[in-house]
């Protein structure tokens, strides 16, 4: 190590403390770094679970790599635990995480802007303000976009009356307000989509948390979950947990019992199913079909499915050289679209990029996942898995769900671990637990 290196690091730190200003020099191009130049320039788009993690871990693996993170929000509000907020078990403010530690401790440059376009040949990203950032490697972790209109009647305007609350923020507040305004004895309807979608256990935890709220505030109410699938994540555990905690308050209707919703009328709060049954809601929560965030489509990394295929070892795009995609935007089955997986993918891809920039082979990857779901206060369940590569494909090496016959103490521990997990992963991702 040379002193020059420390000086450059301190300089970068100072630049970070001053904000992104010095980074966007005249002409909008990043100036080459002083003192020997950086080990490479990486731009990361999206400061959620995947993006914040990959930015931090590139810096941890090699501080000499320049990392710029592009994210419009000053605070990222997480979807994980937003169901617990709806259930009255967690504060909304505690879901928000900022970027201060990425800047001050790890030397990541954070630019609060939206990435509008990617020029893969010129290796630049254009920001909403018109500036461009140059990169040697680009990582996209933009999460999901809603496929507006794919479910008939479910438009942006409809979502103002029948919220999805599948991206945390104003939509979450809207749903909470509607729940609070709902009459006792009303019907809460949740419409669940077909696979693949963000957070496979999410709709089932959502109704449990809504039930937790209704049980103490509006106990005569009902919950109807209309599902486009016949099977769902942790199904046995959820069905059992709902019944034990909420009796018959929650009714789940699978696809083969005419559960698939084909049309939404948000003005009348009505939905119509495949075989023509109309259901009327007091509060209507539609989890609509999804696809990768738009910047992934702009960059050309998505295929006809709307998601981005990836090279299993590194999550490099097989379609666009120099670009990596992680998190919900990818097709990475059997890994689920979870915050845990996005974080784990961020680490493997950070290692792959650092190795690649150094001209060596990256390590054999290993990813993990644990999705806790809180069914009721003191009643948690989980699905866990470790993933690796076998014969060129991502496979689950080990894993499973909580035992069906676990006792109350086991469920209580998993509820506690869910909270501990949330605090740990947000510390690990943003450093703001």
């Amino acid at each position: 190590m040379t002193r020059g290196r420390i000086n450059r690091r301190q300089a970068l730190k100072l630049m970070g403390a001053m904000g992104a200003g010095p980074f966007l020099a005249a002409g909008g191009r990043i100036p080459p770094a002083a003192a020997g130049g950086p080990a490479g320039r990486v731009v990361v788009v999206g400061g959620g679970f995947g993006g914040a993690t990959v930015a931090k871990y590139i810096k941890r693996f090699d501080p000499a790599v320049e990392v710029t993170l592009v994210e419009p929000s000053r605070r990222h509000f997480t979807c994980p635990f937003s169901n617990l907020y709806l259930g009255g078990l967690y504060q909304f403010d505690a879901l928000g995480h900022g970027y201060e530690e990425l800047v001050s401790r790890y030397g990541v440059q954070v630019v609060h802007s939206m990435a509008d376009d990617v020029d893969a040949d010129g290796r630049t990203v254009r920001l909403a303000g018109g500036e461009t950032l140059s990169w040697d490697r680009l990582v996209l972790s933009p999460g999901i976009d809603i496929r507006w209109g794919e479910l008939e009647g479910y438009t942006r305007a409809a979502a103002e009356k029948a919220p999805h609350a599948w991206q945390a923020g104003p939509q979450t507040h809207l749903l909470k307000k509607q729940l609070e305004a709902m009459e006792d004895g009303g019907t809460f309807i949740l419409v669940a989509p077909d696979n693949p979608f963000r957070c496979p256990p999410g709709p089932y935890e959502r109704v449990a948390m809504v039930a937790n709220y209704l049980k103490s505030h509006k106990p005569k109410s009902k919950i109807l979950l209309l599902d486009a699938k016949d099977n769902f994540s942790k199904q046995g555990l959820f069905l059992d947990g709902w019944r034990k905690n909420y009796g018959d308050m929650i009714e789940w209707v699978g696809r083969s019992q005419d559960g698939e919703v084909v049309r939404v009328d948000a003005d009348r709060l009505e939905v119509e199913t495949e075989f023509g049954t109309t259901h009327k809601a007091s509060v209507l929560n539609v989890v609509p079909p999804q696809r990768a965030g738009f910047i992934a489509r702009r960059a050309g990394v998505t295929d006809a499915s709307g998601w981005a295929p990836v090279e299993p070892r590194t999550f490099a795009s097989p379609r666009v050289e120099g670009v990596y995609v992680i998190g919900d935007a990818t097709e990475a089955a059997p890994m689920p679209k979870s915050g845990f997986c996005a974080n784990a993918q961020g680490k493997v891809t950070a290692a792959a990029i650092v190795a690649d920039l150094a001209g060596v082979d990256g390590p054999d990857p290993s990813w993990a996942n644990t999705c806790y779901s809180t069914v009721a206060p003191g009643y948690g369940i989980s699905v866990a898995g470790v993933y690796g590569i076998r014969e060129g494909h991502i496979e689950e090496i080990s894993g499973g769900v909580s035992p069906a016959d676990a006792d109350a103490a086991f469920r209580r521990r998993e509820a506690e671990y869910a909270v501990a997990w949330y605090r740990a992963i947000t510390q690990d991702t943003w450093g703001t637990a």
Partner: protein
């Protein structure tokens, strides 16, 4: 030497004014153990330092950590998720990860732990 140990050496060398060839200019490229250990951070916090209902890993003796991981893998030790996760690694990997965390300081020097 894992990444976080490298980082500590790098900082320490800076404090001692050691330069030039005494310490390599670039860290070793991250290996599979670095990646597996990083994955533990998802529940145990970065470097396994997060203190909560889920126990921290940093600075615990390698033998103790390895014995616990092996027990989890067998389904012993009253696991909730750790039996399902430990089965995803070879014994050599578990041993290497145990060694990794045993060498991590319980809190980063000069830095108050969150």
């Amino acid at each position: 030497m894992g990444k976080s140990q490298w980082f500590q050496v790098w900082v320490a060398a800076g404090l001692l004014g050691i330069g030039g060839s005494a310490v390599a200019d670039t860290p070793p490229a991250p290996d599979r153990v670095d990646v597996i250990a990083a994955t533990c951070g998802n529940c145990h916090g970065t470097d396994g330092r997060f203190v909560s209902a889920i126990p921290p890993l940093a600075g615990r003796p390698a033998d103790e950590l390895y014995a616990r991981l092996r027990a989890f893998k067998r389904g012993d030790n009253d696991p909730t998720v750790m039996d399902r996760l430990a089965g995803g690694y070879t014994d050599d990997e578990l041993k290497a990860v145990a060694r990794y965390f045993s060498r991590v300081a319980e809190s980063p020097s000069g830095d108050k732990e969150r």
